[in-house]
């Protein structure tokens, strides 16, 4: 199980949080889980090693467009009570969870990972709600990712991911 990246989109379809994990450790001694970035647009050193070398913003937009289209398509085919869970390509797997407040939690992993809907739900319920929503200093909306990447949320996410993806 390898995790590649994690995104949160708010109900205005803006990416308010991005986190990427280094994909391939260059040497065996390097820890495979090495947080690279914090909040989406605040820290800018995204050495994206993607094939197309997409910028972080482009990547997030592509992913949002994809999950948005697929979510609508899935609802149209399967009815309104149907929920989009994940898709898998030959290279990666995308997991999707939408909160009742229309926040979208997206996680990209390798193809062998089982469905992470519960993990995403736990991130929302135990971390986002606890440390972002309940934070009195955090704004109600998060334009540009304001107030999401606070220290408690980052630390909580980091240790939670480490427990889910033991390396």
């Amino acid at each position: 199980m390898v995790i590649y990246s994690f995104y949160i989109f708010d109900r205005h379809s803006e990416c308010i949080y991005t986190k990427k994990w280094s994909q391939r450790p260059t040497s065996a001694s390097t820890k495979s889980l090495r947080p690279q970035s914090g909040s989406s647009f605040t820290s800018g050193d995204g050495a994206a090693s993607g094939r197309k070398a997409l910028s972080k913003e482009d990547d997030a937009k592509l992913i949002f467009g994809t999950v948005f289209s697929l979510r609508n398509m899935v609802n149209r085919i399967g009815g309104d009570d149907n929920t989009f869970l994940s898709y898998r390509t030959g290279e990666y797997k995308l997991h999707y969870y939408e909160t009742p407040t229309r926040m979208k939690f997206v996680m990209l992993t390798d193809t062998k990972t089982n469905n992470l809907r519960i993990v995403l739900h736990q991130i929302w319920a135990n971390l986002f709600v606890e440390f972002v929503v309940k934070n009195p200093l955090s704004p109600v909306e998060h334009p540009g990712g304001v107030g999401v990447a606070n220290e408690l949320f980052e630390m909580g996410l980091d240790s939670f991911i480490k427990s889910v993806f033991p390396s």
Partner: protein, 165 residues
């Protein structure tokens, strides 16, 4: 939600099959079992176009970095255009159905909508591809990339998908 009898482990509940040509046009659609929303032909066309576009995007999202080529970058071998192709969506899961996509080397896409826990979809898909190769591609009256109207393809699909489920 499931008002049809639950299938035994080896049965196949295949809801529908869609075939999309390389330009994103819907050239075949067939419903085998009810259970999903009934879509108008216009909706289906839009759906095919949407999927075609999303499929192309998902090929460009590449979080894993450069793909690992099994043979490595062997300079003695000629570059093989096929081995570097990212695949795009292969399986999509939702609570009510599972969508399996198979893209041929020529860019035709087969979408199979099945139950979420459907076993052996790969086998079913391969068989459908065989039937397509036989009764569509070998049919003198079929024009490539155009809508598929081949009686024998319909009939063989019925024989394969419906009877076994």
């Amino acid at each position: 939600m499931y008002d049809f009898p639950l299938p035994c482990p080896y049965s196949r509940v295949v809801f529908a099959l869609l075939v999309i040509n390389k330009a994103g046009g819907l050239i075949y659609n067939r419903e085998f079992h009810p259970g999903l929303t009934k879509l108008s032909s216009n909706d289906l066309l839009i759906l095919a176009g949407t999927f075609h576009g999303v499929h192309a995007i998902t090929r460009n999202i590449n979080p894993a970095g450069a793909p690992q080529v099994p043979g490595g970058n062997n300079p003695n071998l000629p570059p093989n255009p096929m081995s570097y192709q990212p695949t795009g969506i292969e399986v999509l899961e939702s609570s009510n159905f599972r969508l399996q996509c198979f893209q041929t080397v020529t860019g035709t896409k087969f979408l199979l909508l099945t139950e979420p826990q459907q076993p052996n979809v790969d086998t079913t898909m391969r068989r459908i591809y065989e039937l397509y190769s036989d009764f569509v591609m070998k049919n003198p009256f079929y024009t490539v990339e155009m809508p598929i109207r081949c009686e024998k393809f319909d009939r063989s699909l019925d024989g394969f998908v419906k009877i076994k489920s």
